[in-house]
Symmetry: C2
Subunit: 342 residues, 2 copies
Amino acid sequence: MSEISALGEFGLIDRLTESIKLINSSSVKGVGDDAAILNYTQPGKRVLVTTDLLLEGIHFDLTYVPLKHLGYKAVMVNLSDIYAMNGRPKQITVSIGVSARFKTEDMDELYAGMLLACERHGVDMVGGDTSASVTGLCISITCIGEGEDGKIVCRSGAKPNDLICVSGNLGAAYMGLQLLEREKKVFAENGQEGMQPDFAGKEYLLERQLKPEARKDIIDELEKAGIVPNAMMDISDGLSSELHHICKQSGVGCRIYEDKIPVDYETAVQAEEFNMNLMTVALNGGEDYELLFTVPVSMHEKVNQIKGVKVIGYTTADANEKVLVTPEGQELELKAQGWTGF
Amino acid sequence: MSEISALGEFGLIDRLTESIKLINSSSVKGVGDDAAILNYTQPGKRVLVTTDLLLEGIHFDLTYVPLKHLGYKAVMVNLSDIYAMNGRPKQITVSIGVSARFKTEDMDELYAGMLLACERHGVDMVGGDTSASVTGLCISITCIGEGEDGKIVCRSGAKPNDLICVSGNLGAAYMGLQLLEREKKVFAENGQEGMQPDFAGKEYLLERQLKPEARKDIIDELEKAGIVPNAMMDISDGLSSELHHICKQSGVGCRIYEDKIPVDYETAVQAEEFNMNLMTVALNGGEDYELLFTVPVSMHEKVNQIKGVKVIGYTTADANEKVLVTPEGQELELKAQGWTGF
């Protein structure tokens, strides 16, 4: 393992970025100048910009998160925001602050994960900033994407009586986090060299937490089906929190059905094992990076044909109405707990 | 003073961004969705993207940096990078990580400084991310700007026998930092309530350190004069380091003249007071945020007429030549010390 200081800032940047080849026609010039140069002049195109800050001790815990996974996830959460606008991610910039305990090889791992995420989604890394840090690892990524005028989907476009749709399943990433936290605690209490955590059969939950995948496939399917949702966002803070955002910004209410909310079998098993309420996990768990969107009722059949998408309820004209209907027909108020972090 | 936790993440974002009005036609939609929407479809336009990460304890010390100044400077260093491409900054996104010791009013101050910088340079704040931090303040800004195809200036375009030009004067920001560090030390040793630092007559040096101004005016003047430099970058790590970048990327050498290097009177006085070599300060001080550029010799007269620009030497065909000529005619090797931070 070698010290980053031996390379210096510019040496580190060269090492981390030397393998980068730009693949998008909109990427004119990448790393190596005061700014990257992009070309978005095609008529009808729009530029989408999103940014996320990930801080050690808040967003990730390196005692159980491998750096390569962290890099992958850090990129993925940004790509997810671009897909959530019905856009296509094209470029990212990456800024990192690195404290002295990290070695050059650690940064290689982090960047390998980031570049793998870029490669899988056809995204160019075009710039960034590297710096020392006195306090752990800090990752700030900005993603630039492309949307088509008239097809970009905001949170504010839901109409009353839209169908509310969700991709994939919810709560698994949160259960994965609980598992990792439990093993960390067990290890801290009884820890000894060579002790291995017991994750047999839990691979899916761990993968959902450690290596989430932005739902490009759903955006592809919507496009193929000719569906432009009225409103969309990605689920990072939990379904109920995000649904509140869409309702607030669109001026609508919502009714969703508990028995329609997609939950994986492993999530259910784990919630029972941890004696947690499965619906609370699915509604408020966070970090699912699934897509939440609304479409007109007329699209019902079309949207039903998309694998991995479920209709969970519908929007209503009464903006004050936020209802969760239980399998027994009981109506509960849907509360936005979400994650605040403050 | 009120706790940020009382507002929560979304409440804080609303408070900090509620006064924002978008002014650029390229800013279609700002804060409040998964991504901002921009329009850069005008023929011949290019999008410029740059990003900077500022970390407490590395890039700034809040014992003597007011938060409003910090916000202003954090934006300014990004705008400077866009101007350095001969571009015009149009949008920024701002991500901040905030530890528990900061109050809502602190964030008001920080954002007031950022928004003032935006206002002065006609820039829209269109997005960002806010997060808790376990370790002090972290600011990550990405700036998006506009350039014209054929008029964007990279570091790599210098030709042999170009004139090397510098705006403003060098070393003042570094002397301002030394002053602040000295007073901090004095205060730590003899500190008592109400003691005031002695900065009389040093206002210029402090302003250069605490509230630098990106050189939009120089870009305006170059445009008016019909000058498109062959190469350009901003001076953030010190003149000699930046000149090495331009030489390396352009495959040229350089000869610059000590007595042509612009230094303010106050910088000279302070260097003497601190018993520091003035040329070392001017060449390696850093944080000047002046522009370094090269133009063909044929532009000599035109560039001489721009107030605040000085020709300090010229580029040469020998890429290995990096020479500083002293007033006595002695030739020294120009070394890139710069700042590494690692």
